[in-house]
Amino acid sequence: MPRWFYQLASPRWCYDITGKLLPLFAWAAVLLLLGGTAWALAFAPADYQQGNSFRIIYIHVPSAILAQSCYMLMAIAGAVGLIWKMKVADMVAKCCAPIGASIAVLALATGAIWGKPTWGAWWVWDARLTSMLILLFLYFGVMALNSAIENQTTAAQSTAVLSLVGLVNIPIIKYSVEWWNTLHQPATFTLTEKPAMPVEMWMPLLIMVIGFYCFFAVAMMLRLRNEIVSRERRSGWVRELIQTQFR
């Protein structure tokens, strides 16, 4: 195992490194999201069929991608916590759930708002929409389980198992549009193929996707730092921190 992997296990090291990374990601998120939004709303061309309602894609696709990535991070962090008994991994997994749930709500809400003018319906029980709703319920389940168990170690273990079981939903979301007949269109972005849209449409989308990831990093680090100082509140370095920095 490389050295950084063991450094990650130290809450204090994580607190210090996230303190340095936070402003970087915050600035990146602000610039990318503001620039991307302006491009998406004002400068990107409208779609030939959907007109301007197409602009919802610039929120919908990044949030849908992020909601799934966040789930994968939560499950992987949970697995690392289970195998290596790493406290920081448990904290990361715990912080993922509320962020991921809110992003999944955003993806579902913008999807419904986009569906009304294009498809003609807010909601359809097709495989893509249903599996995305299940993702949201998995997030809720993880959050409920985490708060229901008093003991932190037991809570982390149980939620890790639940997130690992729910991991099976991720490929289902991804391939639902290929495996079954759905109303939802196939993927806009894939890692292997050039997008079907012209560059003036996918460039702002790519910027928004990266911006959403940066925003996620910020939200994650803010929560993680709280979690670290709250769990380590009796240790010397946190006491010192409270007396020197938190005035």
Partner: protein
């Protein structure tokens, strides 16, 4: 890795694989029910039940849309380039509805094999493009749905 960690790794892997196998089997058993709609070929082959609420999906046949001048009633052919189903609908069509567009119609099949629809939803693909590009492609006969139709008829 210590033997203890290795053992825990195997437990984690077996949880993931076990869940995947269980869900995979359930989905295999339900595969027909997860499909949102029947294709016109399924309906022609008699796979869709008659006089039960079903959905049918396909492309609106070019030149098949007949609108009743006095009401909202509209009739059109729905095709997957294998078979065609006649759809009758009385209601407001979505903005994206037009000939050559993919749609999903919900309704009941009557004995004549017509689908009496109560809801028509428009389906679109991932080929987003600005209007000018679409116009140019349309002129050249290179729109995605035109290419799909050409391919389907060539087979």
């Amino acid at each position: 890795m210590t033997p203890k960690r290795k053992q825990r790794l195997y437990i984690v892997l077996s949880i993931v694989i076990g869940a995947a196998v269980a869900v995979g089997l359930v989905m295999y058993a339900l595969s027909q029910n997860i499909n949102l709609f029947y294709s016109p070929a399924d309906i022609a082959a008699g796979k869709a039940p008659v006089e039960t609420r079903i959905r049918a999906g396909g492309m609106v046949v070019d030149g098949s849309v007949k609108r009743d001048p006095e009401s909202l009633r509209v009739e059109f052919g729905l095709t997957d380039y294998v078979s065609t189903v006649n759809v009758v609908y009385d209601g407001i069509l979505p903005d994206l509805f037009r000939e050559g567009q993919g749609i999903v119609a919900q309704g009941e099949l009557n004995e004549a094999g017509q689908l009496i629809a109560v809801e028509v939803l428009a389906k679109h693909d991932e080929n987003y493009m600005p209007p000018e590009v679409a116009e140019a492609l349309e002129k050249a006969g290179k729109m995605p749905e035109q290419l799909r139709a050409q391919e389907a008829y060539a087979e």
